[in-house]
């Protein structure tokens, strides 16, 4: 099964096969993505992935608006992890300009990032369970995510598209009492993870559905350019926060979780699911430390009113987003508008590996695999 079969995009059925057009509107594509399946009753013979339904040309838009003005657009790249794209873009432009970010802002960024990571991972593990037919754990997760949304709303005014970070710092400091709220949430969250595990993670049916399904070998994971939790679940020990440190992450103490194949093989659906649960707990650790060590001080660095980097200058940044190594590249042409902005996200690659893994799978496994890869439709297309 190493050769990827020819995509059958014309929906012409050959003998003995059935073409199933899964998407762009299908409940488990989580957005507008399309997969054309050629089926042998329940077993997938061949899959061809189709995307582009959410292409909005965000990178091109960036070329026609000022440097600061692009920040709200970064929210729209990945609607579940807006904070990371914010962070990546802000960091890239800061490097371009050589702006120093005050330490308090850096710590605030860590808290915001990790809260956002928890929120995003909740959606991912929730949709794995939901696509496997268990609706209750998903809604329990949504309840916890709602608390994060409330916290961030009180913090910066937005619940989904945060537009929180600024070039040179962050837009708002913590409101009075928010620190206690966050700490209270973290305490409750650890209880929630316990409950969630008892409800679904250790459920026999759930393990049977996930363990050993959709296994991605480390070679494939690297070869297809998977990043973030998907890569780590396959046993590749790589985390931007540790290996290419940025911000104040080097000063904080956290573990990089790697897939161990606790219920099946390394890199199966269960590993990806479990890894995200472990990462959420690491995020809890990080937020606690960041809140504890956060110094007082300004939250914005010295940034000129009109950002006009010299012509031809370019910079890049790497941020460990919820979906992994988020790469942002910016280039200046000497005007107030960027010359080029590029954002490299993980969902595109994650979607492409589905084509390789799908043949021979049952359709129910495909749904589990797809959910476990945490593919966010707008992130594939931008």
């Amino acid at each position: 099964m190493d050769a990827i079969c020819e995509p059958n995009v014309h929906l012409v059925e050959e003998d003995g096969e059935m073409i199933l057009n899964m998407g762009p509107h299908h409940p488990s594509t989580h957005g507008v993505l399309r997969m054309i399946l050629s089926m042998d009753s329940e077993v997938i013979r061949c899959l061809s992935a189709d995307l582009g339904y959410l292409h909005r040309g965000i990178e091109k838009i960036g070329e026609s608006i000022p440097w600061q003005g692009f920040m709200p657009y970064t929210d729209r790249v990945d609607y579940l992890g807006a904070m990371f794209v914010n962070h990546g873009y802000a960091m890239a432009v800061e490097r371009l300009l050589g702006v120093e970010v005050p330490p308090r802002a850096e710590y605030l960024r860590v808290v915001a990032d990790e809260l956002n990571r928890i929120a995003s991972h909740i959606i991912c593990i929730g949709s794995v369970t939901m696509d496997l037919g268990a609706y209750t754990p998903f809604l329990h997760g949504i309840r916890e995510r709602e608390k994060i949304n409330d916290i961030i709303e009180e913090w910066c005014g937005a619940r989904l598209t945060y537009n929180y970070m600024r070039i040179g710092g962050v837009s708002f400091d913590l409101t009075p009492g928010l620190k206690i709220k966050i700490l209270e949430f973290l305490d409750g969250f650890e209880v929630f993870v316990q409950e969630f595990n008892n409800l679904i993670s250790f459920n026999e049916i759930f393990i049977k559905r996930c363990a050993g399904v959709g296994t991605i070998t480390p070679e494939d994971a690297v070869g297809y350019g998977l990043i973030g939790p998907n890569l780590r679940a396959s046993g590749v020990d790589f985390d931007v926060r540790r290996d290419h440190p940025y911000g104040v992450y080097p000063e904080l103490d956290f573990d990089v979780c790697v897939g161990r194949g606790i219920k099946g093989e390394v890199g199966d659906v269960y590993d990806r699911f479990w890894l995200r649960i472990e990462e959420m707990l690491q995020s809890v650790r990080l937020i606690r430390q960041a809140i504890e060590r956060m110094p007082m001080g300004p939250i914005m660095g010295k940034v000129p009113k009109k950002i006009k980097p010299e012509k031809g200058a370019s910079a890049h940044s790497r941020v460990e987003g919820a979906r992994g190594d988020l790469f942002t590249y910016v280039m200046s042409n000497g005007t107030v508008n960027p010359h080029r902005i590029h954002i490299r996200t993980g969902s595109f690659n994650a979607f492409s590996i589905v084509e390789k893994l799908a043949p021979g799978m049952m359709i129910a496994d495909l749904v589990a695999l797809f959910a476990s890869l945490d593919i966010i439709a707008p992130e594939t297309d931008r």
Binding site: M1, M18, D40, S41, V43, G360
Partner: protein
Amino acid sequence: MMDALTLKDALFWAFAFLTVGFGLMVTFHRSLVHAALGLMGTLLSVACIYGLLDADFVAVTQIIVYVGGVLILFLFGVFLTRRIDDIEVSNLSVNWMVAVPAGLVLLAVILYAVISSPLPMAPVDATGPTVEGIGNEFLSRYLLPFEVLSVILLAVLVGALMMARRELKPEERD
């Protein structure tokens, strides 16, 4: 009492006509699925006639085995071979020159058998539970035929499995 009898008679005739009508549907309908549905109607009507004759066990078994089992498998087969329903198999056009005389001969034989044989009109004992009686008979008087039948069914099952298995072999390399 007269009333109930006429009601019973009316029901009998209704089901008799339904049986024949659905039978015609099986024979003449072009779509296989509709023909299968006609078969369901026939089987159900026959079951109802059994019920009218106080043979409730036979009626129920008829439905369990034929309607709930065999016919579903027919439909399953039709669904799985997807385009089978698109092929307009007209029963009228295939070999009718052979079929019509053969059918007529068969009809004649059956009619002759029905008319010539003295059908005993035994009074029906509607009070006793039939299931217990049938069960007892199966496990005492008709034990040997019953067991032989079950062995045959087992053989059929194993045989069907063998055939299905061989067909599946090429798929198993996945």
